[in-house]
């Protein structure tokens, strides 16, 4: 962990130690936990939410919930697992709430100057901020077409490369449910891609 490496050897405290201190009453130590995990949580939240303020809201909710539920952490599993499970569930809840006011619509601007298929072949560099934003928008738009559960499973399995067992641990869903959702996710994504292709063909012709 980046933040952990920055501390000197004597100052390094494990997550579990920090949790014990915070539960013991020293609330200020929670800031150290936030500093350690916030880049990862932001990275995760931005996979699900295009709007920056939505991502910030979710991250804030995640850390607030973590603080409120910290006393329920038993320490049997690593804190990281417990925390990631809470984070994914918070993202899922936020996605469900947002489903009532969808932001993902297939815009014609996505087909303006470059073929959609061609775009998939060109992954922009980290320095190309504009290209990266466009690419992310493309991914959001396609993933926005699939159901929330399926999206969570697809993101964890296909984009983050997690195994079914890991996903069951993170989400708390049964293995069969995860497998069903993974299958459904691929199907829904294929349908979304097909819609894109047919739309592109229509626009081109």
């Amino acid at each position: 962990m980046q933040a952990t490496k920055n501390f000197s050897e004597t100052d390094v405290r494990t997550d579990e130690e920090l949790v014990r201190i915070v539960v013991g009453g020293d609330v200020d130590c929670f800031e150290e936990l936030i500093t350690r995990y916030q880049p990862r949580v932001f990275g995760m939240a931005r996979k699900y939410f295009r709007n920056e303020s939505d991502a910030e809201d979710v991250v804030q909710t995640i850390f607030t919930k973590t603080f409120q539920k910290l006393s329920s952490y038993k320490g049997t599993a690593p804190f990281e697992h417990w925390f990631m499970r809470l984070s994914v569930n918070a993202c899922y809840d936020a996605l469900r709430r947002k489903r009532n006011r969808p932001e993902h619509t297939i815009s014609d601007t996505l087909f303006d100057d470059e073929s959609w298929q061609d775009r998939l072949g060109n992954i922009p560099d980290a320095s190309d901020r504009e290209g990266l934003e466009e690419a992310r928008e493309l991914v959001y738009t396609v993933l926005g077409q699939i159901s929330d559960r399926a999206r969570i499973v697809l993101t964890l399995q296909e984009l983050e490369g997690r195994t079914i067992k890991e996903i069951t641990e993170i989400t708390g869903w049964s293995e069969s449910l995860v497998k069903v959702q993974a299958f459904r996710a691929r199907k829904e994504m294929r349908a979304a891609v097909e819609r894109f292709l047919s739309r592109e063909k229509r626009i081109v012709t």
């Binding site: 800031e31 998939l120 990266l132 396609v142």
Partner: protein, 155 residues
Amino acid sequence: MTANEIEKKLLKLAKAVQNDNRAPVNFSAQVMTRVREQHALETSSADERFLKFARNLSGNEHVPYAFEKRIMARIRELLTPDPLAFWSRMLWRAVAPCFGVMILAALFSAKEPTAAFIDQAAFDPAETTIETVDPESTDFETVMLASFDDLEYTW
């Protein structure tokens, strides 16, 4: 016969032969199967390409400036007791018991003798006893309607 003449004759013969417009049986179905296969191939490859694209897209882990301070401020806010929030929570908790009391009071008053019965009993001195008119229910009614009585006086 020269070669040119033979060629002309053959052309004439070829023109005379009628075109066979018949298509082989199930030809369209065969073509459509090929088209569908090609389409499925294109789509699945696009599907895979999309996943590869999304996977290789670098994540944005940028953290807004002093975001941890913002969260800590929010947490400290949560820790500070808010008397209004406490009061509203208590009020909400009181809703169910109050509703229960209201139902019980309604049932209790429904079982009591009606005003007509009380009036009739008043004309019959033999039946007019202290027990027929329950003083508790009349007291209860007086107390419950006291605020409305006051309103009448005000108007």
